[in-house]
């Protein structure tokens, strides 16, 4: 995994301070979360970026493919005063507008893929952990088989098969690959609680298997599921950018994404010194946004991990 959530690395030391007056596990977790200013700050920044990205098609004055035809605005470096704040690319498209549309696409892929992967992972991991026996073995060995190969190799091969890659196909590929870590965690959690007293009590009251799984076992795994889902967000963004950097994924002709805008600079035959004259600003702008989003996603993931899975339960 490229962006595994670190365990036991509490970003803020006072997460372990005594928590008087708290009742339920979730309210304790919420208090621990609120005591981490870094986590709160990164959540706010990430939400602001994503909220802005969601409304880009309504906010941006022109489309991502609209060209400024004046000769002055072709391949123009960033200017702090002027119509094209972050410059233009080699055919006169505004770098800032393209970056914002790229944010819109990348965030859509990341959020949907993380959601689908979590749902799929909870369903498969929960079923495998609760059923046990050979269906458990088959499902988990299937996960092992997919997990044998390095992520990037598998994704590159899948992307070649799915040419031309659209945003929907990319989302599907990530969801179908990233359910594995979620399923492993949920399976371990459900399997460890399957024989506990409260499950036996529910069973003796005549509860169905589905009811036991959904109402009794999965709520106990909520913390780990939330942690896994949060860390998926950063993983999808990082992996998607890397695959698209190879020029394989969604083409910037179809839809700009943060990865393919950076990758465009390497297209053209001889590597990152494109003969078609893309200036450094055409990839520095999406790259900076990508790094900011990834820093916030990782900080949020670590903070949620520290709050929901404290090293020693209190």
């Amino acid at each position: 995994m490229t962006a595994a959530a670190p365990s036991g690395a509490a970003p803020v030391p006072d997460a372990e301070a005594p928590l008087a007056g708290s009742r339920t596990a979730s309210s304790r977790a919420a208090r621990r979360l609120l005591r981490q200013p870094v986590t709160i700050a990164s959540a706010v920044v990430l939400t602001a970026i994503f909220a802005f990205g969601a409304f880009v098609p309504r906010l941006a004055p022109q489309g991502w493919n609209s060209i400024d035809l004046s000769a002055r605005w072709r391949n123009h470096p960033p200017v702090l005063s002027g119509w094209h704040l972050f410059g233009t690319d080699n055919i006169g498209r505004d770098v800032l507008v393209r970056t914002l549309y790229a944010l819109h696409t990348s965030e859509q892929t990341a959020l949907l893929a993380a959601l689908f992967a979590t749902v799929l992972g909870v369903a498969i991991g929960g079923a495998a952990g609760y059923a046990g026996g050979w269906s458990d073995a088959v499902l988990m060995r299937a996960a092992d088989l997919i997990g044998t190969f390095p992520a990037l190799m598998l994704l590159l091969a899948a992307y070649v098969f799915l040419q031309p890659v659209t945003v929907a196909r990319a989302t599907l590929v990530f969801a179908l690959y990233l359910w594995i870590p979620v399923a492993r965690i949920v399976r371990a959690n459900v399997a460890s609680l399957r024989e506990s007293e409260f499950v036996q009590a529910a069973r003796s009251l005549g509860a169905s298997d589905l009811r036991i799984l959904v109402r009794h076992l999965l709520p106990n795994a909520t913390g780990t599921i939330v942690v896994a889902a949060t860390s998926l967000l950063g993983q999808v963004i990082m992996l998607e950018a890397t695959v698209e950097f190879f020029g394989l994924g969604v083409s910037s002709q179809i839809q700009p994404t943060l990865g393919n805008l950076i990758g465009d600079v390497t297209q053209g035959g001889i590597g990152p010194f494109s003969p078609i004259g893309l200036g450094w600003w055409t990839w520095a702008c999406p790259a900076a946004l990508l790094v900011v989003v990834l820093v916030c996603a990782n900080l949020l993931g670590d903070g949620v991990d520290a709050a929901l899975r404290p090293a020693s339960p209190r």
Binding site: T2, T148, L152, A157, V160, T242, I262, T266, W280
Partner: protein, 323 residues
């Protein structure tokens, strides 16, 4: 211990074989040279080739490619080895420094740096290093390192001597090793950056835990200097978690090395894999044999590294070794 290793090895080989067979059947039924052939026949031919070794060296589209694979594998292994050295040295240095000065401004600075480093994808760091430190004619680079290519090779004219317009010779012996290291420095730094950030943070957390343990209090009470306490007592215990964590991250490092290798045109497995996948064209032709060999190398690397990780735990942790 030996039975454990043997059992894990056998299991890994079985997993690899099943995974490769499944992907072979997928590619053979979807891509051109084998699509017309009945699958059982194609699969049987490939299996027989595995036994004789022909499937590893001869493609159905490219012909013999064994030498190329060995070449690329050597280059990728060199890159990975240098990266592991960087990660081990810098992550343990920075981790110890942060743990020794925990709570100070330096600790905070190191933590910010580690998060920033982990958030920069390896390909992006590579691109930035290449453009700023590389030697590009007419570019903004400082020209400290060659921007791309392997020793004695200048793909696309990158890294040529700007006075003689010749590619610097690879040299022999020590000079060759020097040239290789000179060409590998930037890629290895780009690849190591994120993992140094991640693992220095892990090591710091683990060291802080160790430093609160009773045996450290005993060591301090004996009158040992704080440096000895940190390096001999706390670090020794924290390495039990650190070494396997680096080794189990091998899959991620290997994946990122494909991208870095491609950015710097090192001619390693990344460039070969992208070439074999026939990325730029949309033709339905794919050399299934070549793809399988590369997938096999990647999968074997990941499985081997995870096995080494478990062995390292046994080696470093006396409780496991004796128990």
């Amino acid at each position: 211990m030996l039975t454990f290793v043997l059992r894990r090895l056998v299991l890994s080989v079985v997993v690899l074989f099943v995974a490769c067979s499944a992907s072979f059947c997928f590619f053979a039924t979807h891509y051109e040279p084998l699509r017309g052939v009945p699958l059982p026949h194609a699969y049987w031919q490939w299996l027989r080739g595995l036994a004789t070794g022909r499937s590893f060296t001869h493609g159905i589209v490219f012909g013999p490619f064994g030498g190329q694979v060995v070449d690329s594998l050597e280059r990728t292994l060199a890159l990975l080895a240098l990266t592991l050295v960087f990660v081990a040295v810098f992550a343990s240095l920075l981790g110890c420094l942060a743990a020794a000065t925990r709570g100070s401004a330096l600790d905070l600075l190191l933590r910010i740096g580690s998060y920033a480093a982990w958030a920069v994808p390896a390909f992006l760091l590579g691109l930035v290093l290449q453009q700023t430190l590389g030697k590009i004619a007419g570019g903004p680079g400082l020209g400290l390192f060659p921007p791309a290519g392997w020793a004695g090779q200048c793909p696309g004219g990158l890294g040529i001597d700007l006075h003689t317009f010749r590619c610097p010779a690879a040299g022999t012996g020590i000079a060759f090793v020097g040239q290789v290291l000179y060409h590998l420095t930037l890629p290895a730094v780009a690849l190591a950056g994120g993992f140094v950030g991640l693992h220095s943070r892990y090591l710091r957390a683990s060291l802080v835990d160790s430093l609160a343990a009773p045996y450290v209090t005993v060591a301090r009470a004996k009158g040992l200097p704080e440096r000895t306490v940190l390096l001999r007592h706390a670090l020794r215990n924290s390495l039990i978690a650190f070494v396997p964590a680096v080794l189990t991250d091998f899959g991620a490092i290997f994946g990122a090395s494909l991208a870095v290798d491609w950015v710097f045109r090192l001619g390693g497995l990344g460039g070969l894999f992208v070439g074999v996948l026939n990325v730029q064209s949309t033709s339905p032709v794919l050399d299934t044999y070549a793809v399988e060999v590369l997938l096999l190398i990647g999968g074997a690397g990941v499985l081997l590294a995870s096995l080494l990780g478990e062995l390292a735990i046994g080696f470093l942790d006396p409780r496991v070794r004796l128990g």
